[in-house]
């Protein structure tokens, strides 16, 4: 089953996000082995070169590491994962705040609304 991609930004960045989410949500556990580039490209239905570039970037930011002969693994460095979680949250919160501000809401109103719907959603 191919992954879903938005049409308004690069496939490369969406592959990276897909892995980040899988790692942060615990779907991919620390130390888990990744499939080969070719298999992953096949599963995602994307260009193998693009998959390769995305994995290199994940390696650069420390979420994935390569063991010379064994392949690629998810990092076991929990602080790197925590770091990625913060960055991910930050990015989405800024997006969200920008959208709320464009609706004309100020900080106090946004916080009120968050509290209101946070409670409702939990019940």
């Amino acid at each position: 089953m191919a992954w879903d991609f938005e049409s308004d930004r690069s496939i490369y960045s969406q592959i990276i996000e897909h892995f980040e989410l899988s790692i942060l949500s615990g779907e991919l556990l620390p130390g888990a082995k990744l499939d080969s580039v070719r298999e992953l490209a096949s599963q995602a239905s994307v260009n193998p070169n693009t998959m390769q570039r995305a994995l290199s970037e994940l390696e650069r930011i420390g979420l994935v590491y390569t063991q010379r002969t064994n392949g690629r693994f998810i990092t076991q460095d929990l602080s790197a994962i925590e770091n990625a979680r913060n960055n991910f949250a930050k990015k989405h919160i800024i997006d969200f705040l920008n959208r709320m501000q464009s609706l004309g809401l100020n900080k106090a109103q946004i916080i009120d609304l968050i509290e209101k719907y946070y409670e409702e959603d939990l019940q």
Binding site: A2, S7, D8, I11, R38, S42, S45, N47, N49, T50
Partner: protein, 232 residues
Amino acid sequence: MSNILECKNLRKQYGKLVALNDINLELPEGKIIGLLGPNGSGKTTLIKLASGLLVPSSGQITVGGNAPGIESKKIISYLPERNYLDNTMTVNQLIGFFGDFYPDFNKNKAVDMLTRLNIDSARKLKTLSKGTKEKVQLIMVMSRNAKLYILDEPIGGVDPAARDYILETIISNYNEDATILISTHLIADIESVLDDFVFIKNGEIVMQSSVDKIRDEQGKSVDALFREEFKC
């Protein structure tokens, strides 16, 4: 990185009709490239020039540094838009035929792919459905160890499941030294598989870029860009 295919001032006329006008094009090694354009834009003419089925009216085309001929045909694996195989052959005979013809044909690979599709290789081609025949043809073409694969409309007339299979076959058989040139007008289906694309319109190249570059710079898919560029 060197180029697998180069065109210099390439021109092709059929009588008075200009099919390709002054094409200058370089396709690098190791990429999956979409040749995209509406019907009648010159895609198949360009492909037939590359595979040596047509001769240029003027200008040059080279594949791996050679003009189309014996040498270039050794390194090109070509899937024409039409079914060109002998319908009275069995799939087994076809495998033998390809093996005799092309030293780089990997018989095991072909058998393996056919087995995974549950295609009975004792059957004659004429007893297979259209979609299955197209898959068999693609399997033959992708089982060669070529430098340049040219696939003319490989996803044209097949159902969505078969289309997924075809894309999957292309991805899983791709090796990073080879280039795959795929002509199609069904861009949305194939966009995520491409590195680069070439837009061709009325016999001229109007754009050559990478899929992710367009998405990053313009915030839209190549499919959306195509619809704007070729709006009727």
